[in-house]
Symmetry: C2
């Protein structure tokens, strides 16, 4: 039993590779929900949907987010009505948001809704929201508190990130099934997907009890930073603003005390000795996933590294 901790698009790509190699009972994907928000009365779970679309083979690989063959008739109509329409809701995407919002309103938990959606999308592997309780990332910027999607979509990550808060974290609990698995004898380790360390992975890790549980497991991370750049999103910009090194080393320091191994890109091969000095096992390989084949190859190397860490521990 392997757990993959994932944010949105980048993590979803590795999840596709892991799902190709592991049978449904062998893999659980735990997804960040701190990006979730309500928009026009609809409950949007961007990271969860990215993982679901990728696992169902419905994701748009060219645009890099959302669904393939998406159309924007509803969004354009909202715009034509003069409503400030900063979050792009595709017509296909809307179907998920409408059903999820309705099911939550009827009393289903986020996990139950995720299970409904995976089932209906033909996904056999478990995809769990990190928590059934709401947690919301707030970006702290020059004395202001900016809701994450506001920062991410409307402001296109322009404000300087001085730090983050996860509203609701005090009362949130890790998803029950995930935590039960974490303490099971079948657990073989945890993969931290190449997602943003601050706003995608940290909310998962910050849930009460998670770090303690992870310390009892082999944990490997795939670096989301290649050659000083983030493959997608504001991870590198955030690292700079927070005064962290924009490299796999900076990423490894985010996961300090939890990590047993790290997968880094060939471009960063020179950093392998420093990572090993931190006590990590290191795999150097191609980490950029441009195709399903790349995802499967990277997943294979990640699982190999995890097996090595398990053997060493």
């Amino acid at each position: 039993m392997i757990h993959a901790l994932s944010g949105g698009v980048g993590g979803a790509k590795l999840a596709v590779g892991l799902a190709a190699l592991l049978s449904p009972p062998e893999l659980t994907v735990v997804v960040n929900t701190a990006d979730d928000f309500d928009y026009l009365g609809l409950h949007i779970m961007p990271d969860l949907d990215s993982v679901l679309y990728a696992l169902a083979g419905l994701n748009d690989t060219e645009r890099g987010w959302g669904r393939a063959g998406e159309s924007w008739v509803c969004k354009d109509t909202v715009t034509s009505l003069g409503v400030d329409n900063w979050f792009a809701l595709g017509d296909k995407d809307l179907a998920i948001h409408i059903l999820r919002t309705e099911w939550l309103r009827q009393g289903l938990s986020a996990s139950q809704v995720a299970a409904e959606l995976t089932g209906r999308l033909g996904i056999a592997h478990a995809v769990l929201p990190m928590s059934d309780e709401p947690v919301s990332t707030v970006v702290l910027s020059e004395g202001q508190r900016i809701a994450f999607q506001e920062y991410f979509v409307r402001l296109q990550c322009r404000p300087r990130a001085d730090g983050f808060e996860f509203a609701g974290m005090e009362t949130a609990k890790p998803q029950a099934h995930w935590m039960a698995e974490m303490t099971s004898a079948d657990m073989q380790g945890v993969v931290i997907c190449p997602s943003n360390p601050y706003v995608s992975v940290e909310p998962i890790l910050a849930l009460p009890g998670v770090k303690d549980a992870l310390k009892r497991q082999p944990v490997v991370a795939v670096s989301p930073i290649i050659g000083g750049r983030a493959i997608k999103g504001p991870a590198a910009k955030m690292m700079a603003e927070l005064g962290h090194e924009i490299s796999p080393l900076g990423v490894a320091r985010c996961y300090q005390g939890l990590l047993d191994g790290m997968v880094i890109d060939i471009e960063d091969a020179a950093l392998a000795p420093q990572l090993r000095d931190l006590g990590l096992q290191v795999t150097v390989t191609q980490t950029l996933m441009k195709s399903r084949k790349d995802s499967v190859q990277l997943a294979r190397e990640t699982l190999d590294l995890l097996a090595r860490c398990r053997g060493a521990s």
Copy 2:
């Protein structure tokens, strides 16, 4: 100041003609809301939307309902997820439903939402929901109680209608602005549009105080029945099931005690003497509205009849 009482598509066609002839301060369209319902968490107001789309020139004149150039991507996606999707939500239509549901959730009244939508759709005439309180038509059928949209859309009007109930009518109030106008010295009369007498017009009339107010005004109705058939919808079938005559005479009897005049189709010219025997002024003309020109012509004849009734009273 003229009031038009309207259901959905048929009434909307006459409203277009009336709006072409009367300036915004001269016309208020009052629309049935007893068909309104919640579907997948969205608040749908079918009659109001039919009137709005027609007045904004956005209605689909070929299909006869909904918006022109509509697409069905979201609906097809919901269906693909295995959800019983009996109510056809178009992608453009959805924009209205999403915004309305959100505005209602924020605390706006149905009237305020209607005003938002008319403004944003560029409609200058007032379109008022009959009430800001919910009223829901229930079809009584062989001992069963069927919600109206269930009967109308899902069951395609197949069950026998033994009668109707308007749940919520006891506590609903007529829309405030409408009632204030009704007692103003500027009122010149009321037009009952060619809508279903039982499920479109009767809910409007059944609101407390409305019939009393109408008795103090000249009132003319345009028959929705031509040659023993309803132009659209189940009006003729309902008349048969309720044991009423399927003719303008049967319609006139629905509005007994309120009506001063009636516009009937040339096909029904032979009934004019019987309607006059009921004390009504009668206009015989082409009542089928196939084009905007037809709507304007019928509106003109209806307003002429109303003026004659006003002169006679």
